[in-house]
Structures are given as structure tokens and as C-alpha cells.
Symmetry: C2
Subunit: 189 residues, 2 copies
């Protein structure tokens, strides 16, 4: 249990450092220093910077994948499914914006197998989101607009939310969720 | 006139190279090579890479500023003003996505006076956009939603459009404009 907590602490501190300085510029020594421990102690808990990156990115990517799969299997309407996707992004952004920053900026530093696994998860996620939108249009739940424009505008807003949220922490999660759902689904007019 | 055309060609080719390799990695020699001329000839038209960057970024920033100022001075409704802002972004994206990529990725490489001028234009632009949204909410033209969420979602969609449009060139400008206006103003439901 103690060791698990220590791992969480390493990941949290490393994600913050990766965001501030970029993955490549951060050393294991920097991470140890930020935790106020010796570099040798750090290696008792974790093998390498690469292992930390895998823990940060793959964990978040698996969470997106798991919740998206649940959404896809549910009997809900397309609109309800989109609402769930928006909630998922807001929840992870509010809880873990440093890790999301690392996922967006540093995923290309993952090594072979993990990189392939990450890209596969991302592609499936995007494919599932596309299916929801296409079905929503086909069933008449969504307006007959160009699906690419819909997918892009919702996706880019949710994907860049962590950049903006870092500066607006005063907004609480439930206010953000309800306003984001209104703006993205029902518009501002 | 001949010289002006040459300058446009330099800017067009340099913006493409900056996008592909990043501003710092591109040399005047690379630009000359891509134009199939000698580096010495390039210097007949332009003093430095920095001068090219200024031409690319400041020209686009001044265009955004000029059109935004016209929009602010007009008697139109807030909704019409937002429509004009969306049109402006789509027009510049469709016409000049390489230059927009350079503006977004390389603005911090501008030297002192131009950097300050660029930041001032950007801040005024964002301030004007905020005024339109705040007035729209105050006048009851827009829904009473959190203005920060509205501003962020529209702004991030328009700002990242060039990244997406590069891959979707098949979409023509007027279809993109009308669909983007629908999605951002009136929603997808």
C-alpha cells in the first residue's frame, strides 16, 4: 500500500514536471529532487522515465477506452451518449489536467509496443465517437449537418479543454459539464 | 511588381517549410533551394528569416485586426457579428493555412517590437470577441450560459481549424462556413 502511494506520488510529480519543461528535458534526478528524495531511492519504486510515461499515458487512455466502450454498449440515445462523452472529458480534465497535458504533448515518446497500443486505443476512441455522430444524424436525432464539421468542433473543444481549464480552475466540474453540454449540443442562440 | 510577386512566392514557400520543419530548423539556404534559386539571389529580395516571419505573421494578424475592427464598428446584431468572425476564420484558413500554422507555432520567435505588436493585436482581438459575447448575453440575444465556456469553445474551434482543414481540403469554403456557423451558434440537436 505504501509503495502504491509512492508510485502515485511519482506519477503526479513527474506529470507536472513534464508539462512545465517537456518530457525530453526532465531527468530522473529532477523528479527525485522535486520529491525531495535521492535518485537511488526513486529507482526503488520505478525503473525509468519511460515507465513513468507509460503509467501516466496508458492509464488515462485505458480509462477513456473503458468508459467509451460502456457508452457504446448502452441502450441510450445518441444525445445521451454524447453527453456522457462530454462528462468523461470534463471529469478527467478536472481531476488530472497534468496527465492529459502529458498525453497530448508526449505520447510520441512512448516506446514501440506502448506506442502502438496507445495509437490503437486513440483510433478506436475516435472511431466510436464518429459512429455515435453518424448514427445520430442517420436516426434524425442530430441535425443533417456535415458530420466532419460536427466531429471536429466537439472533438477539438474537448481535447484542448485541459489547456484552458488550467487557467480557470475556479469553475466547478458540474457547472462546466452542464454549460459545455449546452454549448456543444444545443448552441448558444 | 515583379519584385512583389517574388516576395509573395518567398513567403508562401517559407510558410510551408516552417510548418513542415519548424521555424528554427529552416535556413535561408533551405528556402532558396525550395525556390530553386541561389541563396545570394534570395537576399536581393529579403534581408533575413526574421523578416520573412514578420511578413507572414504580422500580415495575417493585421488582417484579423482590421476585419474585427470593422465588425465592432458595424450596427449588426451580436449573432451577425459572431457569424462574421466565423467567416473571417474560415476565409483565412481556406486561403492561407500554412501562414496560420506559422502564426500559431512560431509567433514567439518574433523579435521584440514585432512580438509586442503581435501580442497587442492578439489581446485586442480576444477582448473584442469577448465584448461581442458579453453584449449578446446581456441583451438576451445569446443564452445565459457561462461566457467563459462559450468563448473557449468557439475560440478553440476557430483557432485549431487550420490543423484539421489541412486534411479535409475537399470541403469547400461556403459549405464549411454554413456548417460551422450552424454547429457553433445553433448546436447539433
Amino acid at each position: 500500500m505504501k509503495s502504491l502511494d509512492r508510485k502515485t506520488e511519482i506519477i503526479t510529480i513527474a506529470a507536472k514536471l513534464f508539462k512545465e519543461k517537456g518530457y525530453s528535458a526532465v531527468t530522473m534526478r529532477d523528479i527525485a529532487q522535486a520529491m525531495d528524495i535521492k535518485a537511488a531511492s526513486l529507482y526503488n519504486h520505478i525503473k525509468s522515465k519511460q515507465e513513468i510515461l507509460v503509467l501516466i499515458i496508458i492509464e488515462i487512455a485505458e480509462e477513456f477506452t473503458k468508459v467509451m466502450n460502456e457508452i457504446m454498449l448502452s441502450d441510450e440515445t445518441c444525445i445521451q451518449k454524447i453527453e456522457k462523452v462530454i462528462q468523461l472529458h470534463v471529469d478527467i480534465t478536472v481531476r488530472d489536467s497534468d496527465a492529459l497535458a502529458s498525453l497530448n504533448a508526449d505520447w510520441m515518446h512512448l516506446a514501440d509496443a506502448e506506442l502502438a497500443y496507445f495509437i490503437k486505443m486513440r483510433e478506436e476512441y475516435e472511431e466510436n465517437f464518429r459512429k455515435i455522430i453518424m448514427k445520430g444524424i442517420a436516426d434524425g436525432e442530430l441535425k443533417k449537418l456535415n458530420p466532419e464539421v460536427i466531429i471536429f468542433s466537439i472533438h477539438t473543444t474537448l481535447r484542448t479543454l485541459y489547456l484552458w481549464y488550467g487557467k480557470k480552475k475556479s469553475l466547478n466540474a458540474s457547472v462546466l459539464k452542464s454549460n459545455m453540454t449546452q454549448v456543444l449540443l444545443h448552441g448558444i442562440v
